[in-house]
């Protein structure tokens, strides 16, 4: 049930640089010099940021973000 922490994954092929995730979950993404998003570090989402991560996933216009948990 508790398992490993969730991991935020940004699909480079889908991200078009809308930067919605940067506004919703700034602690979880880096924006590169072209404006594309990448998960910070290895993408691990601390439990206190889980809600923000989910929000970023649900608002990405390109469906480029996903949250990987043990179950997936």
């Amino acid at each position: 049930m508790t398992g490993k922490p969730a991991r935020l994954v940004v699909d480079d092929d889908k991200c078009q640089g809308h930067n919605r995730c940067r506004l919703l979950a700034p602690d979880l993404v880096d924006i590169d010099d072209l404006g594309f998003a990448h998960a910070k570090g290895d993408g691990t989402v601390p439990s206190e940021l889980l809600e923000k991560a989910r929000l970023a996933v649900r608002n990405c216009p390109e469906f480029a973000l996903r949250l990987e948990t043990d179950e997936t």
Partner: protein, 399 residues
């Protein structure tokens, strides 16, 4: 031919320049979604107008069947090509011309413009101080993007009236043919090129920290930009950067002047602003783009012939109840909001970070100054027609 016959049936005789669409497209969108979600028309030589998010999305992603070479629906497009890369580019040419512009529009770069945007807004608001009424579109919204983009490009903001006139020719005045529209469009493009040419000459000798210098130094396939590419990109940045953002700011202010609960809530809870801005962008998305069908295809069972126009209405996608519950209600704390106001796929608005920043700053500064502003009773709102929809008048009482 200036007057066009009124639309007889929106499903089969669609025309986005019909005054009823300009006035209030949302009711027409909802009605069409219920009975014919991809409207069509013999006008403009054949036109399809999808109203559902899923169809808009499919077409935006399908660059094999839908070309961006012409992104404004015109009755009589000029024979002279007026490319504005990358918005008018298809793969494989699109990517390199987009890549060269992207570094200038990252959120990191745009954040540096926030102090200038705040100053610009406050200078405009200073002019209104002490007055009891104003026009939030004419006295405020329309000037903000002009001044910001002029600063970015490195051209004088005092020329704002001229910029707006050029844009009016490009996206409103020449979309319906009056026999001179194609010539006027080409003449206006040449006038813009001459204007930019004077600044390009100066920047070649004395480069500055602006987009003209940036484009002069830019490389495309290992070489400087061709003249056609250089001027096309500059025209795009000026045209795309002004009416769009002006419309979004104006529509947001019109909303807040009308719905006082939302106005009061934003004044009391400024942290809600980013969420509210995305909701204004969803509900009042200003921009509709066009595509041309490259080869015969079909979308959701609707056949489309090579050469037909497709109106890619992001505003319609954003009001689709299959994606956005209660889509015609503005919910300023809407949490799930995957809106398409900046387009979808490879042509995502390159200025989206800039637009979002300008809208946010403009609303914050306005509300700081006039937290209790209201729409004037009986006010008539004039909406722009064509690919960019926004209120051109928003008469308000300031206190």
């Amino acid at each position: 031919m200036t007057g066009r016959p009124p639309v007889s049936d929106w499903a089969t005789d669609f025309d986005h320049t019909d005054p009823r669409w300009t006035e209030n497209p949302y009711a027409i969108m909802a009605e069409l979604r219920g009975r014919c979600p991809i409207a069509h028309s013999e006008r403009y030589g054949g036109l399809h107008a999808p109203m559902r998010y899923a169809d808009v999305r499919e077409i935006a992603y399908d660059t094999d069947h839908f070309s961006s070479k012409r992104v404004v629906i015109r009755e009589n497009p000029p024979n002279v090509p007026l490319p504005s890369p990358p918005i008018t580019s298809d793969p494989p040419h699109h990517k390199p011309s987009r890549m060269l512009l992207l570094p200038a529009f990252t959120p990191q770069k745009i954040d540096r413009l926030i102090p200038d945007a705040r100053r610009i807004c406050n200078e405009l608001l200073d002019e209104l101080q002490g007055r009891s009424e104003a026009d939030a579109a004419i006295d405020y919204a329309q000037h903000i993007p002009v001044k910001v983009i002029a600063k970015m490009l490195g051209i004088p903001e005092a020329e704002g009236d001229r910029f707006r006139e050029w844009i009016h020719v490009f996206i409103e005045d020449t979309i319906v043919d009056d026999g001179t529209s194609a010539d006027r469009l080409v003449a206006t493009a040449r006038e813009m090129d001459d204007f930019f040419g004077r600044y390009a000459e100066q920047r070649r000798r004395d480069p500055k920290d602006d987009l003209i210098s940036f484009l002069l130094a830019a490389q495309h396939d290992g070489a400087p930009l061709t003249e056609r590419h250089f001027y096309g990109a500059l025209r795009l940045l000026l045209i795309a950067g002004i009416d769009t953002t002006w419309s979004a700011i104006g529509a947001s202010l019109l909303h807040l002047a009308t719905y006082h609960q939302d106005r009061d809530r934003l004044v009391a809870e400024p942290a809600l602003m980013p969420t509210a801005v995305e909701e204004f962008l969803r509900a009042y998305a200003p921009v509709t783009m066009a595509r041309r069908v490259k080869e015969d295809t079909e979308v959701s069972g609707c056949p489309m012939k090579a050469g037909d126009w497709v109106m890619l209405s992001f505003p319609a996608a954003n009001r689709d109840p299959d994606v956005f519950p209660d889509p015609d209600t503005v919910v300023i704390d809407r949490e799930d909001n995957r809106h398409a106001a900046f387009g979808l796929g490879i042509h995502r608005c390159i200025g989206s970070n800039l637009a979002r920043m300008e809208i946010t700053v403009a609303l914050e500064e306005w509300l700081r100054r006039f937290p209790r502003f209201t729409l004037q009773p009986g006010a008539r709102i004039a909406w722009s027609k064509g690919p960019v929809r926004g209120p051109r008048t928003v008469p308000v009482n300031l206190a």
